[in-house]
């Protein structure tokens, strides 16, 4: 079932009016696909979708869970993790404490990848990783530290490509069809809900990754979120964006040093 862009605007307004939830800065093309998907999933036409959003308790939460794109991988873009290990970790190693924020962490694969990479460089003991997302479902999932074993094959390939020299299976226990991330790689991490649109600074970090999240925002919202990430970074802290996302704010380019152009890694210098 499809909707028009006009319908979509109507929906954004409705959600804003009833739930004070602001989807206005989201890229329309992706939102439209997601809304159509929700309508298919629940067999709803546009007016019954609005009706459910207005009158069915709990439906809005289901809607929110489905509206975001949560696809993620462990060691997605292996060359990013190589750059992080070789160009950023040597700096981080000079800090007594390393606070990391994975903003838009989805089901936590990125957080656990960072944990493994840090562990491998003997840095995990000093590190603490905050994983946040707007979607309560994926946060619950991330907290469990359990990953579908079927997916581990692809993740192991990714990990192999980082040239770490060992196998990803060193870091989890396989039980039935689940891969359980080892406890010691989970203890220095915390997952919670945080909305990049409405939330503020909640800590000061040495490293922030916000990957494949900005692509779902329009340029105006990207600027705002980049300001928030900047404000959340310690001086000389690092910002990592997705491989197709850039630091597009002119007023921020002076405040960051480009560490790696292809991997979009920046260091806050002012």
């Amino acid at each position: 079932m499809g909707i028009s862009f006009g319908n979509l605007e109507e929906l954004i307004e409705l959600v804003n009016n009833i739930y004070s939830f602001d989807l206005n800065g989201y890229s329309r093309a992706s939102l439209k696909r997601r809304v159509s998907r929700i309508m298919d999933l629940y067999s709803l036409d546009f007016s019954s979708l609005k009706d459910n959003l207005t009158n069915t308790p709990g439906f809005f939460n289901k809607f929110l869970i489905e509206i975001t794109v949560n696809v993620t991988e462990m060691f997605r873009d292996p060359s990013f993790y190589i750059a992080l290990r070789d160009e950023v970790f040597p700096y981080l190693a000079t800090f007594p404490h390393i606070k990391i924020w994975s903003a838009g962490c989805a089901t936590g694969e990125e957080v656990y990848s960072l944990a493994i990479l840090l562990e491998k460089q003997n840095l995990y003991q000093r590190a603490f990783i905050y994983g946040t997302d707007i979607n309560s479902d994926v946060i619950e999932h991330a907290k469990r530290g359990i990953i579908d074993l079927k997916k581990m094959k692809a993740y192991s390939d990714n990990y192999f490509q980082t040239g770490s020299g060992d196998s990803l299976s060193e870091y989890y226990t396989a039980r039935y069809d689940a891969a359980i991330i080892h406890h010691h790689l989970r203890k220095n991490s915390l997952f919670s809900i945080h909305n990049l649109v409405s939330g503020g600074v909640f800590n000061e970090f040495q490293l922030i990754t916000c990957r494949n999240v900005l692509i779902y925002f329009n340029v105006t919202l990207q600027h705002r979120v980049l300001d928030l990430l900047y404000a959340s970074l310690a001086l000389f802290g690092f910002l990592c964006l997705g491989s197709k996302e850039t630091l597009r704010s002119d007023h921020l380019t002076d405040k960051f040093r480009l560490v790696n152009k292809t991997q979009n890694i920046y260091q806050k210098i002012a």
């Binding site: 862009f5 890229s27 329309r28 093309a29 992706s30 439209k32 696909r33 794109v69 696809v71 490509q161 494949n212 900005l214 692509i215 779902y216 329009n218 340029v219 990207q222 197709k244 996302e245």
Partner: protein, 173 residues
Amino acid sequence: MLQVLPENLSIGVLVIIHRNAKYETNIETSLSDKCRIVVKMAEEKEYVKPATAYFAPAGYHLLMEPDHSMSLDVSEPVNFCRPSIDVTMQSVSDVYGASTAAILLSGANQDGAKGMQSIHQAGGLCIAQHPEQAEIATMPASAIALGVVDVILKNDELLTFSRQLNNYILRRD
């Protein structure tokens, strides 16, 4: 085909090829010297300009925004493909409707057939490469089987069409 497009081409072109995200290829750069139009990888929130061909980056779906900028999306592969032709075609037809023209070339799965259907329903023009002349016939053949293809063109006809694309656009306006 991109190589024969005239430098004063009055429209933008999106190119979706199935490529593996693991092996970064640079078709854009190697083609760009040989073409009269600009050939580049699509950047997120970049506006589509005339006389420019935008390739979808490996590992991302390419979507069209109502303000005529492009978005990238890492949602699930469609037809095992990301970028998927269906996804881009559906999104482009949402925005450009009847003024969309699509060409489906050789390929090994059914990706593109549903996308062509959307464009067809929106009143756009759907062209398929003649399956006999396609390296792998499945992709154009699937769209033809759906009954959504307006014209089937042989390779030399595809080139002629590309050369004269500007005339065609003027005629439709």
